[in-house]
Symmetry: C2
Subunit: 143 residues, 2 copies
C-alpha cells in the first residue's frame, strides 16, 4: 500500500547550483547527499515535510555522473525538470508484484538500492500516463 | 515559509481514464473535483498523505477544458506527464513577494484562486531550473 509522496525527482545539469537555488529561494536545506553508481547519478535529498505514515517527503535533485546514465539521456532530450515521482510503501516487493499483475510494466525484476539505503523500483511511464513512477521502501530508522 | 509538498500537478488527456488508472493501480481515491474556468482545466485531487504542518499532499490530475488553456498547450507539446509541483505555505502573499525580490519571476501580480478555495501563484520555470513551481495557501478548515 502506497502511503505517501516520498519524493519528487528533479534532473539538473549542475547539482551544486541547483542545491543553492533551492536554499537561497526557499530555505530548503540538504538532508543527505550520495552518489548512486548503479543509477549513474549524484544526488541531494532536501527534506520538505514529515508525513503521517511516519516517513517524510523530499525533493531529490539528480545530476548525471556519466553520459550513458538514463538521467543524462533524459536531460539531453528534455532539459532540466521533473524526472520522476516516487510513492512510499512499507512493502515495495509486494506492491510492485501486485502492480505488475495489473499489467503495468515494472522496470526491475527485483527492487534495487535507492537513496539512503532504500529499496526501489520503477514503473514504465508509458503505462502510467506519461509519469515515470518510483516505489520506495525506506531503510529502517531513516528519519 | 514553505512547509510541505502540497501537490504534484499531472496533465492528462482524459481525466476520467487517468483517475481510474490511479484508483485501479494504487488504490488512490478522488478527494475533490472541480472545474477552474480561469485556468481552463477540469481537475481531480487525490489525497495521498497528511503532512506535519497540518496539511496534506495530493496528486492533482488536470485535463484542459479549452484549447487555449496553458495546460492544453503544454500537453500538445509534451504529452501527458508532470506539469508542475506545488509547495504549501501559510502565507502565499508574503512568500511570493519575498521570492520575487530574489529575482525569480512570479507569474501573477496577486495570488489567484486554486483548488478547493486555495490561493495560488506560479514561479517561472526558467527561473527554477526547468520546474514550473506553484505556491499554495490552503483555504481554512480544508482538511
Amino acid at each position: 500500500m502506497l502511503t505517501r509522496i516520498d519524493h519528487i525527482g528533479i534532473a539538473c545539469f549542475d547539482l551544486d547550483r541547483t542545491v543553492e537555488f533551492y536554499r537561497a529561494t526557499y530555505g530548503f536545506e540538504v538532508f543527505h547527499t550520495e552518489v548512486n553508481e548503479e543509477q549513474g547519478v549524484r544526488e541531494a535529498m532536501l527534506r520538505i515535510n514529515g508525513t503521517d505514515d511516519g516517513g517524510a517527503s523530499y525533493l531529490q535533485l539528480l545530476e548525471p555522473v556519466r553520459e550513458d546514465s538514463t538521467v543524462a539521456k533524459w536531460l539531453a532530450k528534455n532539459g532540466e525538470g521533473v524526472h520522476h515521482i516516487a510513492f512510499g510503501t512499507a512493502d515495495v516487493d509486494g506492491d510492485s508484484e501486485a502492480i505488475r499483475g495489473k499489467g503495468v510494466r515494472v522496470l526491475y525484476d527485483e527492487p534495487r538500492t535507492g537513496s539512503m539505503g532504500s529499496r526501489i523500483t520503477f514503473l514504465h511511464p508509458k503505462d502510467c500516463h506519461g509519469v515515470l513512477t518510483e516505489l520506495v521502501t525506506s531503510a529502517p530508522v531513516q528519519h
